[in-house]
């Protein structure tokens, strides 16, 4: 049974197609990256999957059932969203207390350790917390809830590099001990790349890419060398981006079997393309049509 399955799922706001015919299948027990530019439809898709908003058309299942108003399914999901609203009079400890009563797998001592890790002032009013401290509340709930399906939507806005690393470390170690399905939406793609087993890239509400991360790592290469050699090499190949500087040039291209060796034989230097750069290239307007993965 899939953790998440959608068929032609769409959500339209007046004249905006926030999610436009999304069809994906996500297996349980893996960490997924839901990537894309701002406004790509990532948050809307997660809101649909957690029953917060209603689909305009299409079908979806979470653990085999429609999640909308489905208490049994929603009890197994945790959605940490960047724009989560909290009551004005709440302190961080109030949110944690409520969360503890909602999630059946909640680990109170783990939550306590995370509060210490992120140095979260639990007695302070939430409206007086910094952006990073607000993010910490979400991360603590997302991790300590140990929900079988956890969505993190830009969970670390405003967090410093140390805190972000703590998040990655705690997520990985807890995931190893308590495997579950995690969907992580982030713009810090390279930072999170090692966590992600599979990525779904959305662009203007549509699925642009749906692929295992390992597969993607060899999906594109960057070659550089003399401009004439680069031009000759990229002819009849699928080029994502190309730059020229005097007599030198570099190109990022979709790699086919043997391309790496061929480039080296053509006296070109070859380097891998980071996941972030690949996504940037793929979601740049001029390149969308080149995606084949």
């Amino acid at each position: 049974m899939t953790a998440i399955s959608t068929r032609d799922l769409a959500k339209t706001y007046k004249d905006v197609r926030a999610v436009d015919g999304v069809t994906i299948d996500l297996e349980p027990g893996r960490i997924y990256g839901l990537l894309g530019r701002n406004g790509a439809g990532k948050t809307t898709l997660m809101q649909l999957l957690t029953g917060q908003i209603f689909a305009t058309k299409g079908a979806m299942t979470v653990f085999g059932e429609n999640p909308v108003e489905n208490a049994e399914i929603l009890a197994q999901t945790c959605f940490i969203q960047e724009s989560q609203k909290y009551p004005d009079t709440f302190r961080a400890r109030d949110v944690l207390t409520v969360a503890a009563s909602v999630y059946p797998n909640w680990d109170d001592s783990f939550a306590g350790r995370l509060v210490d890790d992120f140095r979260l002032p639990t007695k302070r009013l939430i409206k007086k917390l910094s952006r990073g401290q607000l993010s910490a509340i979400g991360i603590i709930i997302g991790l300590a809830s140990r929900a079988p399906l956890t969505f993190f939507d830009e969970p670390y806005l405003g967090l410093d590099a140390v805190a972000r690393q703590i998040f990655y470390d705690r997520l990985l170690s807890d995931f190893a001990e308590y495997p579950r399905t995690v969907v992580l939406s982030t713009h810090h793609i390279d930072e999170a790349a090692n966590l992600l087993e599979h990525v779904v890239v959305l662009d203007e509400g549509r699925v642009l890419l749906d692929s295992d991360t390992e597969e993607l790592r060899g999906h594109a290469i960057q070659i550089s060398g003399r401009a004439a050699d680069v031009d000759a090499f990229v002819a009849n190949r699928e080029v994502i981006a190309q730059e020229r500087m005097g007599g030198l040039a570099s190109a990022t291209l979709i790699a086919n079997e043997g391309d790496q060796d061929a480039a080296q034989r053509a006296d070109l230097s070859v380097s891998p393309v980071s996941l972030q750069n690949l996504i940037v290239h793929l979601t740049t307007d001029a390149q969308r049509s080149t995606v084949t993965a």
Partner: protein, 240 residues
């Protein structure tokens, strides 16, 4: 059905739900006490003080308590609903848990008001001929009437507040203005009808002088309409 987490959500910060309304009510009560002390220092005429005692049956200072409670109905949808859905609670669970909290809070504050009313009555207005609890809006009859009336008024306030806010959630603020405009239009038609037709005017006036029981029926009907409208609207409300 996860009702307890919804109740926890609303009552996690008890000061907000219990302490704050009581604090505002106490402040308002203190103002009325000061007014009473000043009035008693200005006149010692028994008839003046009796007139004041009778006149204060319409004292609306108790709305210092009722107002925040209506605000609680609004806050339930604007502040607590997004967090409830964010935590994976269903709308049905939220509605049931929140309705329970509304009724629980109405019961608590009804007891407070009724105790205040009994003391106020026993002491002829705290020895100052003033009224705060024993007023038209909470019932000037026996204590059991105040118990019922205050409970119904507070509950109706909260459910109507929640329903109005959910309507805004569903269809935007404009929908609320349209509804209010329709109510105003209905009121205007009633006044026009009363001016143009004496029989209708007499019937309308008889409504104002109807007894306590029919009035409670009206308040109950408003509360039920508010609760039902809210329960229906919240089923398709979306987190914003």
């Amino acid at each position: 059905m996860r009702i307890r987490p919804v109740v926890n959500l609303h009552t996690a910060n008890r000061f907000t739900v219990i302490g704050q309304p009581l604090m505002i009510m106490s402040f308002s009560f203190a103002v009325i006490l000061v007014v009473g002390i000043i009035a008693n220092s200005v006149t010692s005429s028994a008839s003046d003080l009796t007139d004041m005692y009778q006149g204060m049956r319409w004292n609306g200072a108790i709305f210092a308590l009722l107002g925040p409670l209506m605000g609680f109905g609004i806050a339930a949808m604007t502040q607590y609903f997004p967090l409830a859905t964010g935590l994976g609670l269903t709308r049905r669970e939220f509605a049931r848990g929140t309705a329970l909290v509304f009724l629980g809070l109405a019961a608590i504050f009804t007891v407070v008001v009724t105790i205040g009313k009994v003391i106020e009555e026993a002491t002829t207005g705290w020895g100052l001929h003033i009224r705060f609890f024993d007023v038209f809006y909470t019932g000037v009859g026996p204590a059991w009437q105040t118990l019922i009336q205050t409970f119904l008024v507070i509950s109706a306030f909260m459910f109507v507040g929640a329903a109005a806010t959910t309507m805004v959630n569903r269809w935007g603020q404009f929908s609320l203005w349209i509804l209010l405009a329709l109510f105003m239009l209905a009121g205007l038609c009633a006044v026009m009808g009363a001016i143009l037709n004496d029989e209708f005017a007499a019937w309308l006036f008889s409504l104002l002088s109807m007894g306590w029981v029919p009035w409670m029926g009206v308040v109950l009907a408003i509360g039920i309409i508010g609760a039902v409208a809210w329960a229906i609207l919240v089923r398709r409300a979306q987190a914003r």
